[in-house]
C-alpha cells in the first residue's frame, strides 16, 4: 500500500512544479466559466426556474463543472499510451507491483493537486463573482467529497482503458479524442442532463457517464436527500466496480499480447 501512496505523492509533486501553466489554465477555465455564465444569465432573463434549475443552480453548475475539468482530466491523457509507444512500458510491467494500482495511485495524486489548485480556485471565483451556492451541511459536503472521488476513479478507469487499447493500435489519440467528446456531452458537462429531451434523458442517466459529472453535480446542488442520495452514490459505486473490473480484464489480455517496441 505504501508504494502506491508514494506514487501518488510523487505525481502530486511533479504537477506542483508547473506553477505558470496552472495560472494560465485557471484563467482559461475562468474565462469559459464567465462565457457559460453569461449565456445562462441571458437565457434565464425573466424566468425564475427551468427544468428544476434556478439561475443560481445553473451558475453553480457552471462553476462546479468548470472546476471539475482538471481533477477529472476530461481533455485527455495519453501517458500510458506514450510508454507503450516508447517501449518503456516493459520496465513498468516488470516492477513488482500492481500495474493498475500504480497508475491509479499516480492519477489520484495528480487529482489531489488539481482539486487544490484548479477546482478550489475555480469554485472561489464563482463564489466571489457570481455568488454561487455551496452545500449547506457537513453531511452534504461529505457526500459530495465521496461522489467526487468516485467520479475521479471512474474517469481514471475510462482513460486507462483507452490507453491500454494502445497495446493493439499505436493510434490512441484519435480514439481518446472521440470518446472524450461523447463524454463531454453524455456526462452532462456541456448541458445538465435535466435539460435533455425526456426520451434521451431516460437513456443518458442510465449510462456510466452520468456518474462522472451529473451525479456529483446533483449532490453538490443538494438535489437529492436521504434515500435518493444513497441511491445516487450506490449507482456511482456500481459503475466504479464494473469499470475497475473491465480495466483489469482488458489489461490482462493486453499484457498477454504485448510486443515491446524500441529497444
Amino acid at each position: 500500500m505504501r508504494v502506491y501512496l508514494e506514487a501518488a505523492r510523487m505525481s502530486y509533486r511533479c504537477y506542483r512544479t508547473y506553477g505558470a501553466a496552472t495560472l494560465a489554465g485557471l484563467a482559461t477555465n475562468g474565462f469559459f466559466g464567465l462565457l457559460r455564465s453569461s449565456v445562462f444569465i441571458a437565457f434565464y432573463e425573466g424566468r425564475p426556474i427551468a427544468e428544476g434549475y434556478t439561475l443560481d443552480d445553473a451558475l453553480t453548475y457552471v462553476w462546479l463543472t468548470q472546476g471539475m475539468i482538471m481533477p477529472l482530466f476530461l481533455w485527455g491523457w495519453l501517458e500510458i499510451a506514450d510508454t507503450i509507444r516508447s517501449g518503456s512500458i516493459a520496465s513498468d510491467l516488470a516492477k513488482p507491483l500492481d500495474y493498475f494500482g500504480f497508475w491509479l495511485g499516480r492519477d489520484l495524486g495528480r487529482a489531489a493537486y488539481h482539486i487544490l489548485y484548479r477546482w478550489l480556485p475555480t469554485i472561489l471565483i464563482g463564489l466571489i463573482f457570481f455568488g454561487i451556492g455551496l452545500p449547506g451541511s457537513a453531511l452534504a459536503w461529505l457526500a459530495f467529497a465521496l461522489s467526487f472521488l468516485l467520479a475521479i476513479v471512474l474517469s481514471f478507469c475510462l482513460r486507462f482503458m483507452i490507453n491500454v487499447v494502445g497495446f493493439w493500435t499505436t493510434d490512441v489519440r484519435g480514439i481518446m479524442g472521440m470518446v472524450l467528446l461523447f463524454v463531454n456531452f453524455l456526462t452532462g458537462f456541456l448541458v445538465p442532463l435535466e435539460f435533455f429531451p425526456p426520451a434521451l434523458r431516460a437513456i443518458v442517466t442510465e449510462l456510466p457517464f452520468a456518474a462522472m459529472i451529473s451525479i456529483p453535480n446533483k449532490i453538490f446542488l443538494e438535489q437529492a436527500q436521504g434515500r435518493d442520495l444513497l441511491l445516487l452514490l450506490g449507482r456511482q459505486l456500481f459503475w466504479v466496480v464494473v469499470f475497475v473490473g473491465a480495466a483489469w480484464l482488458l489489461l490482462r489480455s493486453a499484457t498477454r499480447k504485448l510486443v515491446v517496441q524500441g529497444g
Binding site: F32, S38, A42, F43, Y44, A50, G174, G177, F182, F185
Partner: protein, 263 residues
C-alpha cells in the same frame, strides 16, 4: 504563393497517408464541435430566446464563427507549431533558408482534419437557413463572405501574435486559448449578453465582435444594442486588415530580437 501551395501540398499528402487515423481525426473534429451545437439546441428546447435572438439566428452566428475559425485553424496550424520550433531550436533552420520565415511556418503544417469543424459550421448555417427567413441581397451576400474572411483573418492573427510572443517567452502559453477557443465560443452568441468589459475587449482589442456579430446582426436585420454608426457592419474587412497589420508588426519585432535557444 506557388511555393506555399507546393509545401502545403506535400504536407497534405503526408497527412492523408494514414487513412484510418485521418478518418478518426476528422470524425472527432466533427463530433467535438457537433456536440457543442447539440448542447445549444438542447438549451433552446427550454428557453425561447438568447438576448432577443431566436435559435435560428444564434445558429447563424454560431455557424459564421465556426466556419471562420475552422478556416483559420486549417491554414494556421503551422503557427500553433511555431512555439515548439522556437523552443527546440528548430527555428534556426527556418532562418537559414532563402524563403520568408512566416511563409515557411505557415506551410510547416496544414491540418485537413479541421474540415470536421468546417462541416459542422456549414451544418449550423444550413439549420439557420431553414429556421430563419433572411432577405438575401447581393450586398448581404458580399457582407457574409466578407465577414467569414475577416473573422478567419482575425483568428489567424491571434495565432500569429501567439507565435510571435514565443520569440520573447520561448514557452507557449495556454492564455492564447482564451482568444482562440474562447473567442469562437464568445463570438457564437449575441454580444449583448456579455459584460461591458468583455464587449469592449472583443470589439476594440481583438475585434471579433466587429467581424462576426455586426455583420450577422445586419444580415438578420437585428437591432444594434450598442448604437454604433450604421456602416459598422461593413467595417469588418478594414478592421481585420488593421489587426493583421498589427500582428505582422509584432511578428517582425519578435523575429528581429529572436535569440536561438541553442542546443
Amino acid at each position: 504563393m506557388r511555393l506555399y501551395l507546393l509545401l502545403a501540398g506535400a504536407r497534405l499528402r503526408g497527412q492523408t497517408q494514414y487513412r484510418v487515423s485521418f478518418a478518426l481525426q476528422v470524425a472527432s473534429s466533427f463530433t467535438s464541435t457537433f456536440v457543442e451545437l447539440l448542447a445549444l439546441l438542447i438549451l433552446f428546447r427550454t428557453f425561447s430566446s438568447l438576448g432577443g435572438w431566436s435559435v435560428g439566428e444564434v445558429a447563424f452566428l454560431y455557424g459564421l464563427a465556426s466556419v471562420s475559425f475552422a478556416l483559420a485553424e486549417l491554414f494556421g496550424e503551422g503557427l500553433e507549431q511555431a512555439s515548439r520550433m522556437i523552443r527546440e531550436g528548430e527555428f534556426d533552420r527556418v532562418l537559414t533558408r532563402p524563403v520568408a520565415p512566416l511563409l515557411q511556418v505557415l506551410a510547416a503544417d496544414i491540418q485537413p482534419r479541421r474540415i470536421g469543424r468546417l462541416a459542422q459550421g456549414i451544418l449550423a448555417l444550413a439549420l439557420a437557413g431553414r429556421w430563419t427567413t433572411i432577405d438575401w441581397t447581393p450586398l448581404k451576400a458580399a457582407l457574409f463572405i466578407g465577414a467569414i474572411a475577416s473573422t478567419a483573418v482575425v483568428f489567424l492573427t491571434v495565432f500569429l501574435i501567439g507565435a510571435a510572443i514565443c520569440f520573447w517567452t520561448i514557452e507557449s502559453s495556454e492564455f492564447q486559448n482564451i482568444f482562440t477557443y474562447g473567442g469562437t465560443e464568445l463570438a457564437s452568441n449575441p454580444l449583448q449578453i456579455y459584460s461591458r468589459w468583455l464587449q469592449g475587449i472583443f470589439l476594440y482589442i481583438v475585434p471579433l465582435g466587429l467581424t462576426t456579430f455586426y455583420p450577422a446582426a445586419h444580415i438578420l436585420a437585428k437591432p444594434d444594442p450598442f448604437g454604433l454608426p450604421p456602416f459598422t457592419p461593413f467595417l469588418a474587412p478594414l478592421v481585420a486588415a488593421l489587426f493583421l497589420g498589427l500582428g505582422l508588426l509584432i511578428w517582425g519585432l519578435g523575429l528581429r530580437q529572436y535569440q536561438s535557444t541553442g542546443s
